[in-house]
Subunit: 254 residues, 4 copies
Amino acid sequence: MKKTIDLNSDIGEGFGPWKIGDGVDAEIMPLINSANIATGFHAGDPNIMARMVELAGKHGVSIGAHPGFRDLLGFGRRHINASTNELVNDFIYQMGALREFTRLNNTVLRHVKPHGALYMHAAQSEPLSRALANAIQRTDPSLYLYCMAQSVTYRVACEMGLNVVREFYGDRDYDSSGSIVFTRHVGPLDPQAVAAKVLQACQQGTVQTVDGHTIAIEFDSVCIHSDTPGALALIQTTRNALLSQGIALAAHVT
Amino acid sequence: MKKTIDLNSDIGEGFGPWKIGDGVDAEIMPLINSANIATGFHAGDPNIMARMVELAGKHGVSIGAHPGFRDLLGFGRRHINASTNELVNDFIYQMGALREFTRLNNTVLRHVKPHGALYMHAAQSEPLSRALANAIQRTDPSLYLYCMAQSVTYRVACEMGLNVVREFYGDRDYDSSGSIVFTRHVGPLDPQAVAAKVLQACQQGTVQTVDGHTIAIEFDSVCIHSDTPGALALIQTTRNALLSQGIALAAHVT
Amino acid sequence: MKKTIDLNSDIGEGFGPWKIGDGVDAEIMPLINSANIATGFHAGDPNIMARMVELAGKHGVSIGAHPGFRDLLGFGRRHINASTNELVNDFIYQMGALREFTRLNNTVLRHVKPHGALYMHAAQSEPLSRALANAIQRTDPSLYLYCMAQSVTYRVACEMGLNVVREFYGDRDYDSSGSIVFTRHVGPLDPQAVAAKVLQACQQGTVQTVDGHTIAIEFDSVCIHSDTPGALALIQTTRNALLSQGIALAAHVT
Amino acid sequence: MKKTIDLNSDIGEGFGPWKIGDGVDAEIMPLINSANIATGFHAGDPNIMARMVELAGKHGVSIGAHPGFRDLLGFGRRHINASTNELVNDFIYQMGALREFTRLNNTVLRHVKPHGALYMHAAQSEPLSRALANAIQRTDPSLYLYCMAQSVTYRVACEMGLNVVREFYGDRDYDSSGSIVFTRHVGPLDPQAVAAKVLQACQQGTVQTVDGHTIAIEFDSVCIHSDTPGALALIQTTRNALLSQGIALAAHVT
């Protein structure tokens, strides 16, 4: 049973004048411990990144980069058959873009978490996971890489001695392999159900799968996406449920 | 009369499978002292940036960021009526993207030079010059800012105590104000004429203007663009002319 | 006093997974007579265009193209210093892209209305207005061009014998020249105030200016933007106010 | 043995200021019978499209649209896991954009040929081939669809009663299935070898495969890409070889 947990969210995923989900990033920021800020390829833009980094700094939220496939229209949820080398270069480009805003604000880039189809691709690809881990070690070995316990990324990162944070997804379904069921569209969820699912994971270390089993799950952080409809209520309710059960909230990376 | 001069070039300005000018960046790199590497908004992409940073490191060339307007189709040569705040955020984003590739290669980002219409806009705008200089001071006060002696950018940067490098353009025309004549298209130039123009600037401190005058010009570095047709010959000929006159070539920033 | 008026709206201005304003295009469509559908440069994408054209066909709404500057991030509200020739080519490209969806749905492209900064630029530029009108005459002389009565576009289009629709803006402020006050951001408006303004324009042919005058205004159509916050209420309230005063709603172009 | 053949080329594949291959589209145009003009998603832009359509009209070249994946950086050669519906909407958008330039020039859109990874994806996917054929039938049943004889696209298009043109590729390798070997990068080729390969195909109806077999090949048109290095020499040499053997050159579609 966990005494403390890190609540993270993918955030800053608007673009230009547009909003995703409910457009409540500013309300979500004070409620989370770690922010994975979109870096412009699947979502986000320099103006949003500037605001998010400033806001994270103000609320003491740990700042992470959230790089994705170069696919605004598809929100980074469509796999692109790019070479590993291309994906690593995209990753470095985006990570650096966000890091520069932390320099501007006298804060620090703490972690990185690939987005959407890139995250899922890395989860199954040893060459990509290895290449991303290598890029992190060469650019900044102090960075933490967010990933799933049941992923090639986690195994490879551990082997290579990288700092790793394993995630549990409060707003995604799990299959019996312990991997999330990837989807391009997520509908509204019940805040109480999400909170209960997270509590069970934190207290019992288990999750129900889509095919009705209960499996053990290991994680260091809980993710609730900011673009899920009703995200603010999901995060608030989950946060309150954790606190009411005596589970403290704190960034894994400090 | 100069004993040493810095030869700089805007470089890495292809995009994806396309090339600009003669596509001879790899040949140009060993001949210059400072590389202003395009950062993806007006030209360049993460793959090209990776190659250029690696190549610059290999040849001991000083690495600079060359951020531009977000306008691939117009190659950053069309003014966009963006707010100063938007332009600063674009500037930071691009600067950081390039800096991360220097981290990857264990080299260092030394300077920054805005591109095309952004450079010309800053040259005339005190608010923009001030905002860019401020962004540099907040992110990395050791950076040098490339600009023209006859520009608001230079005046403001000096007032603010920024490191500055003044440029002379070997492949652009000058008007009688000492400013370059901005153009969206540059045709082929005579290498001997360009070399002679640079030599005159270095030895006599003067340049002929488009309206037939000879004016004094102050500078710390000579720029020849990589996208000018025949750029390689322009740079080689100019380089040889300088060396044959006993003018050494060395990066201004080290 | 008008017996019949055309209610038009700029619509389909989401992009990929993102929404603009309240994202209620599907609710707005049945309430309007003419839809100016975004064509992908400032907003909109092929998937949204497909849905909007189908929806307009289903509700008997007159279909127009709404081309803008190539500037997604700035939503086409930032002037780009492109040549007239470039802007005409962008205009043709976008108009054709939308027209093809009308071919797919066995409907017809009836009109065209430039968006945002392009609309305002044309309103003041004789060369651009003339070039756009010329492009319309060469591609489809039956098209109607939406513009403001107080604009160079209107004068030029009339001189050239083009079909024209003059717009009144229910959700924009007017200056004493009879031109709208262009803005990059529009806040929430009072539906009753907008409806009253439109009614006054339809019944008395006048509008209040930002500096307190009442001026005469000529128009053939009333525009309320879909991206104005609360757009659905603005359109419903205005529509009801017009109908309750015996003013019928019908597309100008049929 | 063929008496007449259609020589087609993918053309207009520059972007903004950049060129692909040798940038000799204007020289290639008079030498071919059918031009597949890039439509802006993988390459090409409205200015290039305007020039290419005008040039094709001037030289009596049959005009076709060459739509690709939305992936400028990857030149449409990287598969994107988009839905069939998204790909059809992209296809319609691009086809219409090009068609509008034919309206402007009083010429006609005659054919369409998907580009790169989209072409190869359709070649293997019945749902996509069926959806694209359906889109053609709904927008313009007189259009011809270019494809390979050994492809699902050809089979499906024939079943659906579409006009079809089967291509032989002078500048690509064949495998023993009669399909081309898809590649992201094509190196320089020997003009005599390409001409001989095309002559053999036209006179004997056969081609050598990469694994050393000679197989029968059926086709109505010969394609040589404009972005292959040395494309102009490849096309000129092939054209001369065909003419010298008494094989006339004429567009398949008129």
